[in-house]
């Protein structure tokens, strides 16, 4: 039989009471244990979609919506497969920002707001159009014509991306990759500017590319027009652009040769005439 001494019994009681006090202090004293549960922010759905069919890169800065080419309507990019529209931010998410701004304004006070108002407003300067940036390869000394061209310049500039939007039809290359290829070929295409009806000389070249990104073959697709010597010259100028050593190897992603083994390049000079 075990016999517990009286003093030992007292120590046990004291220890029990002290542990109880500590436990109560933890419950009462630490506020976080009483704080309401965290509100989890509303999840925002983000869809990763292929940007290949549409580009807006060259629209930046022009402030204009890329216009489609009326003369050569290209098929619209296919709608993304089962891709839900990106979720719009919930209104309740915008509200805290307003509140924060209001609180900040209150904190800064009216003086700061007056100082803000006293600052001259920065108005965007009209874009300075560099005549060298005109896309037209035809000379024109007429000031009136120049003004017209300046007015039209954004349209011409957007002709690239606009043409890119309908013209880049690829689910194999991203917009950046396609633009890189296009910019490369543009540096090698000697446009037949002075030919009769040069704006109508649209040439399509079917290109087969080797895995090392060199051109295996570049065949003129609309070869039925080759009896016309002017068209033939235009077609051969497009073909030379692709076969030009300056444009070899092609600016294509090296590790995805299966994606760009075949392609069709469409040379349309009317925007530079």
């Amino acid at each position: 039989m075990i016999v517990v001494a009286d003093d030992m019994r007292g120590s046990f009681a004291t220890s029990f009471i002290l542990h109880g006090v500590i436990f109560l202090a933890l419950i009462i004293g630490l506020p976080h244990l009483k704080s309401p549960p965290l509100e989890l922010s509303q999840p925002i759905a983000v869809d990763i979609i292929d940007v290949g069919p549409v580009t807006t890169t060259q629209v930046q800065g022009t402030g204009q919506i890329a216009k489609q080419n009326n003369n050569t309507p290209a098929p619209l990019p296919p709608p993304p497969k089962a891709a839900p529209e990106p979720a719009k931010p919930a209104p309740i998410k915008e509200q805290p920002k307003v509140d924060q701004r209001k609180a900040l304004e209150d904190l800064i006070g009216n003086e700061a707001k007056k100082a803000d108002k006293a600052k001259p407003k920065l108005t965007p300067k009209p874009a300075q159009v560099d005549p060298q940036q005109f896309d037209s390869l035809l000379k024109n000394l007429s000031k009136a014509q120049d003004q017209t061209q300046q007015t039209n310049a954004p349209q011409v500039k957007t002709a690239g991306p606009a043409a890119g939007a309908p013209g880049i039809q690829s689910d194999k290359l991203t917009i950046s990759e396609t633009d890189a290829l296009r910019r490369q070929i543009e540096q090698c295409w000697n446009v037949p500017t002075g030919s009769r009806n040069a704006g109508d000389l649209i040439v399509e070249i079917h290109v087969i590319v080797n895995p090392d990104r060199t051109v295996q073959s570049a065949d003129i697709v609309n070869s039925d027009k080759m009896l016309d010597p002017v068209f033939r010259a235009a077609a051969e100028s497009a073909q030379r652009a692709i076969l030009n050593p300056k444009c070899s190897p092609l600016n294509l992603p090296p590790d995805r040769s299966a994606d760009w083994h075949e392609m069709t390049l469409r040379f349309d000079p009317k925007d530079v005439l």
């Binding site: 290209a74 390869l137 035809l138 000379k139 024109n140 000394l141 007429s142 009136a144 014509q145 002709a159 690239g160 043409a163 890119g164 309908p166 013209g167 880049i168 039809q169 690829s170 689910d171 194999k172 290359l173 396609t178 296009r182 070929i185 543009e186 540096q187 090698c188 295409w189 000697n190 446009v191 037949p192 500017t193 002075g194 030919s195 009769r196 009806n197 016309d228 010597p229 002017v230 033939r232 010259a233 235009a234 051969e236 497009a238 073909q239 030379r240 652009a241 076969l243 030009n244 050593p245 760009w260 075949e262 392609m263 069709t264 390049l265 469409r266 349309d268 000079p269 925007d271 530079v272």
Partner: protein, 443 residues
């Protein structure tokens, strides 16, 4: 359990479906990447023109001269650039004998290769052969041979340049042509003006008149080696015809008034001109064979400078009937005149392109003269050069290049310019030069 023969049709059907799917997928993959190229550059095409080779030393010298003229023609067009011959990687005689190493020519930057030979024939003639290759595509684009007398080597060179130009640009060449113009000399108070003619590159220059009579506005017959011009012979301004092959001159006709601004119809059978009568200027056309004259305009204003469209159906002319000098177009029978120039300034000297797609004109605006082009409906106006005084545009027979004259220092000089507005350059002449007229291609 089904037997194999029972399953066979299903297997075949499934295989066929699979094949169709694969074909469709392949087709879809082929059409996957489409890229629009909507911008480019405009610069001369780099070409390699080798000396035309020959085993005969005399013929080799002619071959070198021929390649020199071909090179100069093509470079003057502004569309071609000869590569430095020191970079050529294959001797000229090897090219035709063994074939060109196009891959090597491509490496030095040549997009086209031209090589030829000159061979004396037993009857004292020269056989000139040339070939043109596309170094990038690896194809021969043209190959021709000419036989001619030795002293005709320049024309052979021009013809070769025409073939190369035509094959690469698609446009007809214009190098085997001539220019007739007014050569001017002497002080301003006693200016001597002579009709002169030369090849388009300035070679074979000669004077057609001695300067005793004032001559103006020579114009070539588009269909023959004949010119019409205005002369003040015996103090009377009249229109003359000059046959360049026979040297014969004749007055176009006697009219009760001053005749000026002559120009041939596209078929060369008639001449359109202006006639001042009773203080009024109107446009007439005369059939050179029958001498029948027909009045085309009848309006109390200045109507002059008629120029036919290449199909002969319309005429561009200048008139101040709207109180300001402007360009009008009417049908060939004089009906349906309508104004086509509506910009600021005054428009004059319309000249219809042989290609038919453009009308060249001069324009006075803000104290300066401009040379410009517009479409026959007046749209697409472009001013391509400017000077204190620019006048007398004339088209190359291919409608690609314009020649004109402008005041330069104390005198006039002729210049040529591509219709794109690029490649403006002076046409070198022994004396001051004005009023150029470009011939058709020589026969």
């Amino acid at each position: 359990m089904k037997s194999f023969t029972q399953c066979l049709p299903n297997l075949v059907c499934s295989s066929a479906r699979l094949l169709v799917c694969l074909v469709m997928m392949t087709g879809a993959a082929r059409a996957d990447i489409h890229v629009d190229i909507t911008k480019g550059i405009s610069e001369p095409i780099p070409v390699a023109i080798t000396n035309f080779a020959s085993s005969n030393s005399g013929a080799a010298q002619v071959g070198s001269q021929i390649s020199g003229v071909v090179t100069a023609d093509l470079e003057r067009s502004g569309l071609f650039r000869q590569l430095n011959p020191s970079s050529f990687i294959q001797p000229a005689d090897q090219i035709l004998a063994q074939g060109p190493r196009l891959a090597d020519w491509k490496v030095i930057g040549a997009q086209a290769l031209i090589a030829g030979t000159v061979t004396p024939t037993p009857n004292g003639m020269l056989r000139v052969e040339f070939r043109l290759w596309d170094t990038l595509a690896g194809d021969q684009m043209a190959g021709l041979a000419y036989t001619t007398t030795t002293d005709n080597w320049r024309r052979i060179a021009h013809k070769i340049a025409d073939v190369i130009y035509n094959r690469i640009t698609g446009e007809t060449g214009y190098f085997d042509t001539r220019i007739v113009y007014i050569a001017e000399s002497g002080p301003a108070t006693r200016r001597i003006k002579r009709l002169a003619i030369m090849d388009q590159d300035g070679a074979n220059h000669k004077f057609l008149t001695d300067g005793s009579d004032l001559v103006l506005t020579p114009r070539f017959n588009p269909a023959a080696q004949e010119i019409t011009f205005m002369s003040f012979r015996n103090g009377r301004p009249r229109v003359y015809l000059y046959n360049l092959e026979t040297g014969q001159q004749r007055i176009m006709g006697e009219f009760p008034g001053m005749t000026f601004a002559p120009r041939f119809t596209p078929d060369g059978h008639s001449v359109i001109f202006s006639l001042i009568r009773g203080g009024n200027s109107d446009i007439f056309v005369m059939d050179l064979a029958s001498r029948h004259v027909r009045q085309l305009t009848n309006f109390p204003a200045i109507n002059t400078g008629g120029s036919y469209s290449p199909d002969g159906r319309q005429i561009a002319f200048e008139s101040d009937r709207s109180n300001k000098q402007q360009i009008y177009v009417m049908d060939a029978d004089g009906v349906n005149p309508h104004r086509i120039s509506f910009g600021d300034g005054q428009y004059g000297t319309p000249v219809w392109s042989p290609r038919g797609d453009l009308i060249a004109f001069t324009k006075i605006l803000g104290g300066s003269f401009y040379l410009g082009v517009m479409r026959p409906d007046g749209s697409g106006e472009r001013l391509i050069t400017q000077a204190y005084h620019v006048e007398g545009p004339t088209w190359a027979p291919n409608g690609r290049v314009l020649m004109y004259f402008k005041e330069q220092g104390s005198g006039y000089k002729m210049h040529s310019i591509d219709l794109t507005g690029m490649n403006e350059r002076e046409v070198v002449t022994p004396l001051d030069a004005s009023d150029p007229a470009w011939s058709p291609l020589l026969p």
